[in-house]
Amino acid sequence: MEEEKKVTGRNNILFSAAAVLILCVLLFPLYWALITSLKTEQEIFQNPPTFYPHILNLKSYAAQVETGDFNMFRSFGNSFLISLGATVIAVILAVPASYGIAKYRFKARKLMLLSFLVTQMLPVSVLLTPMFIMFKNMHVYNTWIAAVLADATIGIPFSVLILKNYFASIPKDLEEAAYLDGCNRFTAFIRILIPIAKPGVMVCAIFSFLYAWGDLAYGMTFILDQEKRPITAGIFNFMGQYGTKWSYLTAFAVVTIIPVALIFIFMQKYIVSGMTSGAVKG
């Protein structure tokens, strides 16, 4: 178990220090966003730039809560429900699909795999109008459902392509053992394979959620009422006709990260173990 040996002693400190260094470099833009959100607009435009706010300005955070029709907490709720809905659809549909593609050699398999690829190749400019017409005909235009359905189209093909490798890496003997124990194909899939593929499922769920969370085009186009729009719609309050208000905008970035980050921290135990626990024990 060479790869899995715990790093201890001096090496542990060295590695950890390197990790912190990587963290600092990669997260510098985030640090910059944070301090920009706490500066006054005048200080932001100061040359040379300041590395910490000389005058603490919290006005930008107060503006996040409510601007016109936009209410931050309500938008959070909207975004959360939309993302959750899209994630659930993506996982429920993608997990069996990826299993089917990984483990069975049916005729249309390659074609289907290709079509999952193709479906995520379309640029937004092509998707918006026809999707809009469809949602209107389905009577879900201007509801969360429209955004959920549209956002799931990003998560599904992504999850299928990632998860199929997972299922493919699970040895056949495991499945066969399950059949011997009296499982049929469907129960074997549910009882044996899904638990083994949990890290993959977890990652797909996370990415599906984050894709939906960051979506702006679908939420803006298919939902007209400000009260139903996702949190990302709030960005328009701080950029546009009156210029980019950097302090407001970066404060917006900070507040959009916080709830997702909190979810991650609370669920870290599951996510981290899900992502790193040895998948294949066989």
Partner: protein, 430 residues
């Protein structure tokens, strides 16, 4: 208790629908109000009120407006006029929806394809002709008296002699200058291109650039470029000549001599204003809608507004929004609301809240005190011309903003840029 209310409400609604679809003749409202009151006889006044409100809302036809102002003050002012209108009559119920500026064209395009449009759109005036061409706007010739409006604003919503909209408000660009900075270098207010360049040179230091104008490569940039183009006598459609090249060369020389930052190609008009109030820029070309923000964000800054300096003639560009009525929508309701909203009293109220200038010349001329910062814009309006109106304006606009961007970034000479723009424009206008 709460549940009871809902049941009552639901019952009323069901009955009402039944009655309306059932006989459809007069007197339904009264009939429905009665059983509702009976059901609530146990006596909850609030519930009765709620029912009545629903009844009136149900009877009123919906009128939807799309607009793109993200500023809270604008939204509140518009909303107030709408609320007053809704309270003033029972036939129509107006609601306004915010569609961001960046999404507005897209949303109207998609809406047109999907037949899902509002009843009124309040849109940027240069785009008006394109949508008329698309056939989504109602011909409202003769429905509004626009004779006292600025000619250019009326032109922007007129196609083939027919009126397809009503101007909401008007604006134009002028030159803002930082009074203190100007005083420090002992310059007077520039009125010609040469003076402007000299002044800008004097004002430029390590931390301050003399002049800024929004130069992004889109309609917003075109808006800021055309006053310079037109001032030479060139038109939007005729650029590849001595005049057009002179305009391009002038802007290029501002960049080359360091009195204007190349960064302008990434600054929206709002960004330019932010640079100005932060003291990084001494003079800027901008519009009157920035004034409320400037006054609140930088109350101590001393600035004034003057005409854009001229080459051979004073020139500015007309901007602003128009109301348009969507054909196939609730046209009667839309017209009724517009008649209300374009009354002198409402126009005055909205213009003041918005920091806009009325498109109605008679209102505009008495709208401000003589020393108001808005007054120079009213004067500048006399020299302001509209873009287009032309259905293919987006194509022409693209060619113009590209040409200016080319000379600013030094990727083409003024001559080449003018020739290329002309080629594109000729392909569109012929």
């Amino acid at each position: 208790m709460k549940r009871k209310k809902w049941i009552a409400l639901l019952a009323t609604l069901t009955m009402m629908t039944g009655v309306i679809t059932g006989c459809g003749s007069s007197g339904e409202t009264q009939e429905t109000a009665e059983p509702a009151a009976e059901e609530e006889s146990s006596g909850e006044e609030a519930a009765v009120e709620e029912t009545e409100e629903t009844a009136s809302a149900e009877g009123a036809e919906a009128v939807t407006i799309w607009y793109y102002w993200e500023t809270e003050g604008h939204q509140v002012a518009l909303d107030q006029v709408i609320q007053e209108y809704n309270a003033s009559q029972d036939s129509y119920q107006v609601t306004a929806k915010y569609v961001p500026f960046a999404d507005f064209k897209k949303q109207l395009s998609i809406g047109a394809s999907a037949d899902e449009l509002p009843d009124i759109a309040i849109l940027d005036s240069p785009d008006h002709a394109s949508y008329v061409d698309m056939g989504i706007f109602e011909d409202i010739t003769g429905k509004f008296d626009v004779s006292s409006y600025y000619e250019g604003t009326v032109n922007s919503c007129t196609v083939d002699g027919k009126l397809y909209g009503v101007p909401f408000g008007v604006n134009c660009l002028a030159l803002y200058y930082n009074e203190d900075m100007l005083k420090d270098v002992g310059c007077s207010v520039p009125t010609t291109w040469d003076e402007l360049k000299e002044t800008a040179k004097a004002l430029t230091t390590d931390n301050v650039t003399g002049l800024a104008l929004c130069s992004v490569q889109n309609e917003e940039g075109t808006f800021n470029f055309v006053p310079w183009l037109w001032s030479t006598g060139a038109t939007s459609y005729d650029i590849n000549n001595e005049n057009g090249i002179r305009a391009l060369s002038y802007i290029q020389s501002l960049i080359d001599e360091g009195v204007m930052s190349k960064e302008c190609i990434n600054w929206t008009q709002g960004d330019v204003m932010n640079q100005f109030i932060s003291g990084n820029v001494a003079m800027m070309e901008n519009g009157p809608w920035q004034i409320p923000t400037m006054q609140s964000e930088a109350p101590d800054l001393n600035w004034k507004v003057t005409l854009i300096p001229k080459d051979s003639e004073y020139s500015s560009v007309l901007g602003g929004e128009n109301y348009a009525v969507i054909s196939g929508g609730n046209v009667d309701g839309a017209l009724d609301f517009l008649t209300y909203a374009t009354s002198e009293e409402k126009v005055k109220f909205m213009m003041e809240k918005f920091g806009y200038i009325s498109a109605d010349k008679t209102i505009a001329e008495n709208q401000f005190e003589a020393d108001s910062p808005y007054q120079p814009f009213v004067e500048e309006l006399n020299y302001a011309m509209p873009r287009g109106p032309l259905a293919e304006w987006p194509g022409v606009s693209d060619a113009i903003s590209l040409a200016f961007n080319q000379v600013i970034t030094g990727t083409a000479t003024p001559e080449d840029a003018a020739a290329k723009a002309q080629e594109t424009i000729d392909g569109i206008v012929k």
